[in-house]
């Protein structure tokens, strides 16, 4: 009897579940829906929040300027917790129930990679704002990316160290995930070209905040420069511990560092740290200036790379909708592919695979703020993969 009752409850729950999900998401006629999956809870919530605010800002700006094709842009937001497992149902829901015309990923690689397959299959254009995994755009011709693949940025890092800074003996400290791995791959690929000798390499996990052993070993390696991948929450403690361990050679990072929070965590140790990224704080371009000011006003903290990427991806989506002049997915896709756009992260265009072509911004910490160091514009070196 008891078993039967539970059995009945289980079936009832299953049935009502499938019924309930069918009832949500009636489309509004006077707006154009753009989907976005971002991590709002869990370990990646900080980046997800920034990316979402950036995207919302772009949507508000577009609506204030008369919307798109006479309609307002409406964001449909789902929290994917940066997990591939959640991303697939969310992508399916965006496509089928919310009937979004185009979607954006403000999430990490795993979730973006998994969702990209769903959007490709459904023929809905999908733009990855800052996920680095090379396989994302290989999902098909409806998938684009507005940030650099890790390899490209790794190559830029090699050029920065070997050529601009003229340092030849380099130690790699690599974050053990897809981001760090692809950066390291790109760096190694280009190292020889710039006369760089990689004298040692260490790996750490995204959960690590204590780098004492690595610092001790790096000190005995005595490199000319350190190329360390990471996010602000790992790079902050890392740089601070490198400096207090008595290592004063240049530390070169990348866009994962790109947050005011990095400077806050590392404090004085952050001075002089150089990174390759997408947002130029000292840019003369009105796009970047406007974004930096508007973001800080909306969010209450300083803009970072992730925010600029969310903003850029959204801008691309809106520009493509305007350009296409219709809501036909094929027309929107073609519009993205043919786009050239001024955005907060530079002048954007896409190659045949849907990878972005733009310059690499090199930023340095000076007096507690990010400032322009230089710009790397080397179309050959920075050429994203074509297939």
């Amino acid at each position: 009897m008891q078993e039967n009752f539970i059995k009945a409850t289980a079936f009832a729950a299953l049935l009502s579940a499938s019924a309930a999900v069918g009832l949500t998401g009636a489309a509004q006629a006077d707006s154009i829906k753009i989907g976005i999956n971002v991590p709002q809870t869990g370990f990646a919530a900080a980046d997800g929040t920034s990316a979402l605010i950036g995207a919302q800002l772009a949507a508000e700006q577009a609506n204030a300027n008369g919307g798109v094709n006479g309609k307002n842009v409406e964001l449909v937001v789902y929290d994917d917790q940066a997990s591939p497992k959640s991303a697939v149902p969310i992508a399916t829901k965006l496509v089928e129930q919310d009937e979004v015309k185009i979607a954006i990923s403000g999430s990490y690689s795993g979730a973006t990679r998994a969702a990209a397959g769903v959007f490709q299959e459904a023929g809905v254009p999908y733009i990855s704002a800052f996920a680095v995994h090379p396989e994302i755009t290989r999902s098909g011709d409806y998938v684009f990316r507005t940030s650099f693949v890790g390899e490209v940025q790794g190559r830029a890092g090699a050029k920065l160290i070997g050529e601009s800074l003229g340092k030849k003996k380099v130690t790699l400290i690599t974050l053990k995930n897809d981001f760090g791995q692809s950066l390291a791959n790109g760096f190694k690929e280009a190292a020889e070209q710039f006369g760089i000798e990689i004298i040692s390499e260490y790996e750490y996990s995204i959960k690590d905040r204590q780098f004492g052993p690595i610092v001790a070993k790096v000190k005995s390696d005595a490199p000319d420069a350190i190329y360390a991948s990471g996010y602000f929450f790992t790079a902050g403690p890392l740089v601070s511990q490198l400096r207090s361990g008595g290592i004063d050679v240049p530390v070169i990072g990348q866009e994962g560092y790109d947050s005011q929070k990095f400077i806050e965590i590392a404090g004085g140790a952050s001075e002089g740290v150089i990174i390759t990224t997408s947002l130029d704080r000292d840019s003369d371009s009105p796009e970047a200036k406007d974004f930096i000011a508007a973001f800080e006003e909306k969010a209450g903290y300083k803009a970072d790379m992730v925010a600029a990427s969310g903003h850029t991806a959204m801008k691309v989506a809106i520009a493509a909708l305007r350009e296409a002049g219709s809501e036909d997915p094929k027309a929107i896709r073609d519009a993205i592919a043919g786009l050239t756009l001024e955005a907060s992260t530079g002048t954007i265009s896409f190659n045949g695979l849907g990878e972005v072509r733009k310059d690499v911004q090199v930023q340095v910490v000076k007096d507690g703020n990010w400032h322009r160091h230089s710009i790397i514009s080397d179309p050959d070196l920075l050429a994203p993969p074509e297939k």
């Binding site: 919530a45 997800g48 260490y202 750490y204 204590q210 052993p213 001790a216 207090s244 929070k261």
Partner: protein
């Protein structure tokens, strides 16, 4: 020289592990509960440490606020969450504890924001030379703090009436009760002391990283469990040695085995190897 530096770094990490795990083992020894939410108190201790220090400029005051506050919260958690579950199979309390820990992490994120907090003027950041090795003052303070706190605790359990009562309760709760030990009070005290130590560890980690994040407790939540198992579950001395040993093994492992296995895997490979040879842990009684 490098070997010595790695040893020191391992001991710093080990001291943190020890402060967290000792509290956990106090709880385990008495109640046989794998108290995952302990790591939540560690995190909250870190938050209080940063907030109070930023407000008053005094790290000492921050410790004096964080430790008793977490101690009291620990008692609260025991009374409301675990006490009613004591007669249940241990996994019931374990899952309840995991649920509690998830809630705590999410509350920290909602209240303090996803980016975490840092000291505006982080104290103890200068370096000092110890036998020719540069150490941050905060690292030194962590080691000294662990020695003082855990040493004090050991004296307390060996030399005072409460300590004797506590040890008696661990050995045989019914007998202890028959001899007039107030078991409820002993449990409260253990939760208080254990949680206060976790708070101290949280403040020290906040100092070392200059960062407290909502998810700061996720690694300690499982690694501290491994340590108390390694130390023989409920054994104070074993836990201390296991914590320091694990810190040192991880320090060497990161450098010399880093290309084979990550830090967690090294720690657990060691744990499994030990348990296969000594199923009752390094110092547990068979």
């Amino acid at each position: 020289m490098l070997a010595f530096e790695l040893l020191l770094q391992g001991l710093v990490q080990g001291s943190i592990y020890a402060l967290i795990a000792v509290g956990l083992t106090l709880v385990y020894g008495l109640l046989r509960i794998l108290h995952v939410a302990h790591a939540g108190l560690f995190t909250l201790g870190g938050y209080i440490g940063v907030i109070v220090t930023n407000a008053t400029g005094s790290l000492l005051l921050a410790l004096l606020v964080a430790m008793p506050a977490m101690g009291l919260l620990g008692i609260g958690i025991y009374r409301t969450c675990y006490q009613p579950l004591l007669s249940r199979p241990p996994y019931v309390a374990l899952i309840a504890s995991i649920g509690l820990f998830i809630m705590m992490e999410e509350l920290f994120r909602l209240i303090f924001g996803p980016y975490g907090l840092s000291f505006t003027a982080p104290p103890l950041q200068d370096t000092v030379a110890v036998f020719g090795v540069n150490l941050k003052e905060a690292e030194l303070a962590t080691m000294i703090g662990a020695v003082v706190l855990i040493g004090g605790l050991a004296l307390l359990t060996l030399r005072t009436r409460i300590g004797t009562a506590s040890r008696a309760t661990v050995t045989d709760p019914k007998m202890a009760e028959a001899f007039g030990v107030n078991i409820g009070r002993i449990r409260d005290i253990n939760f208080f002391v254990g949680s206060a130590l976790a708070a101290a560890a949280g403040v020290m980690v906040a100092l070392l990283n200059n960062l407290v994040e909502p998810t700061m407790g996720s690694v300690p939540s499982y690694k501290a469990l491994a340590i108390i198992v390694l130390g023989g579950l409920g054994d104070l001395r074993g836990t201390l040695i296991a914590a320091l040993a694990l810190g040192v093994i991880e320090a060497y492992g990161t450098i010399y085995l880093g290309n084979l296995l990550d830090r967690d895997a090294i720690a657990f490979a060691f744990l499994i190897a030990v348990l296969m040879l000594r199923p009752q842990g390094l110092f547990g009684r068979a």
